[in-house]
């Protein structure tokens, strides 16, 4: 199976490659449109700031390519947020895949949220074999509110979407590649979709 991790200069993507390697999957890092289109699975990572990440996507035409993909696509962290309509971070227009905007956490809790939070309310094959209230590791200041595309939630002062899905597009706010065995199970599930 051919898996490609979209490499557009956004943060620590080697960890995802290493996590997939631990599952026996040799994913490639690439920004090449043909390479991405011809993959069985595509991972859309992202760490950093939304508007500069979107600028990088626009500069390379990836902003057009990603929403047009037909195979399973998994957005991780900022990747998931960029797949939404917009983000309050830098007033950024997103890829418009998920039908929700991304907002900043209010200052009721510490921002960023850093650490292991429980996830619940699963309604996607992505979570097959993962227990409700399992822990996943997240680091983020912005979140997607609950919407029609929500397939798992977490609490941080408020309830928010910790995972989204629409057709072949999946997104998780946490870092499965850093979430121990449960995260590894989720990546395995994605590879098996």
């Amino acid at each position: 199976m051919k898996t490609t991790i979209i490499d557009y200069g956004a943060g620590n993507i080697q960890s995802i490659q290493f996590a997939l390697a631990r599952l026996g999957n040799e994913a490639r890092l690439s920004a090449d449109p043909d390479e991405i289109r011809s993959s069985d699975k595509v991972i859309f990572p992202g760490v950093g700031e939304a508007s500069s990440a979107m600028n990088k996507l626009r500069a390379t035409g990836l902003d057009q390519l990603i929403p047009a993909l037909n195979q399973p696509v998994l957005g991780i962290c900022l990747g998931m947020q960029l797949m939404c309509q917009s983000s309050e971070e830098g007033n950024t227009k997103g890829l418009g895949i998920f039908n929700t905007d991304v907002l900043r956490f209010s200052d009721e809790g510490k921002v960023p949220q850093v650490g292991w939070n429980t996830i619940e309310g699963f309604s996607s094959d992505l979570f097959a074999g993962i227990s409700e209230n399992e822990f996943m590791y997240s680091v983020h200041s912005f979140y997607a509110p609950i919407s029609e595309d929500t397939v798992a939630i977490s609490q941080y002062g408020i309830s928010y979407s910790v995972a989204l899905q629409k057709n072949n597009f999946y997104g998780v706010q946490f870092h499965p590649e850093k979430s121990s065995t449960a995260g590894s199970k989720l990546l395995q599930n994605f590879l098996e979709l």
């Binding site: 620590n12 080697q14 700031e49 650490g115 590791y137």
Partner: protein, 251 residues
């Protein structure tokens, strides 16, 4: 619910762990990766690797080690020690470190924090602050606590938050190595003052010390070294103990 984090810290010199470790099940007591993997299996939430080597080769050795750690470890880890430039951070993150911790260099040139945040994002920039109580106030110290400054802990903490740091790793030099508990009064004040996560460091001796720093110090995470390395506290038992006291932990 977001849980409180338990973070073992490994001191690294020339690619090897330095502080003596007392793990009978370790094949190689100096191998950071073997130790890290064991901690991850036992339920550590994150790890910190603090590089204390002083050789010219240090950057290359550390970068190679970071890559090997990232290949094996499925929990987040932070790398610190002697980071003074944007390029240092680029190499460490590119090799798979999740976060870096910056200490003295940020005090000497605070703009470094802004530069790092602009380039890599707040989420991976941890500012380590070593402080000591001097005449009823807390003053920032440099070079592993050896060099005092006139900077107040409170002012500096506010400033690093304003400059975009994602977390503060606060070590009380008065408590470090004493095994008498964390600096919970200072931590409680710090946690009121800033709205970014604070990791407590220095003073862990018993399981109650961890509970106290979460309950009284309001800390978001607690870091310790020797109590874990010498198996005085087992992480599995510690987390069970914290859970029984109603403290949210990942088990």
């Amino acid at each position: 619910m977001l849980t409180k984090r338990i973070i073992p810290c490994l001191d690294i010199k020339d690619g090897r762990t330095v502080k003596g470790v007392n793990f009978v099940d370790l094949r190689d007591a100096g191998d950071p990766i073997e130790l890290a993997t064991i901690y991850a299996k036992e339920g550590a939430d994150e790890l910190v690797f603090l590089d204390i080597s002083a050789t010219e080769e240090r950057r290359k050795t550390l970068a190679e080690l970071v890559k090997r750690i990232a290949e094996q470890l499925d929990i987040p880890f932070t790398v610190g020690g002697g980071i003074s430039k944007v390029e240092d951070v680029t190499i460490l993150l590119r090799n798979g470190a999740d976060k870096v911790s910056v200490n003295s260099a940020a005090v000497k040139r605070p703009d470094l924090i802004n530069e790092l945040v602009a380039q890599f994002g707040s989420q991976c920039i941890v500012i380590a602050i070593d402080a000591k109580q001097v005449d009823d106030d807390w003053k920032v110290h440099l070079v592993g606590g050896k060099v005092p400054t006139e900077i107040s802990l409170w002012d500096w903490a506010k400033e690093v938050e304003k400059r975009g740091a994602g977390e503060i790793l606060f070590t009380s030099m008065d408590h470090d190595g004493t095994k008498n508990g964390f600096a919970n009064e200072a931590l409680a004040k710090l946690n009121e003052l800033v709205n970014i996560p604070v990791i407590a460091s220095g003073g862990a001796g018993t399981m109650d010390h961890f509970a106290n720093t979460f309950l009284q110090g309001k800390s978001d995470a607690a870091l310790a070294a020797s109590v874990f390395h010498f198996k005085e506290i087992e992480i599995v038992e510690l987390k069970q103990n914290l859970k029984e006291q109603g403290i949210p932990v990942r088990i």
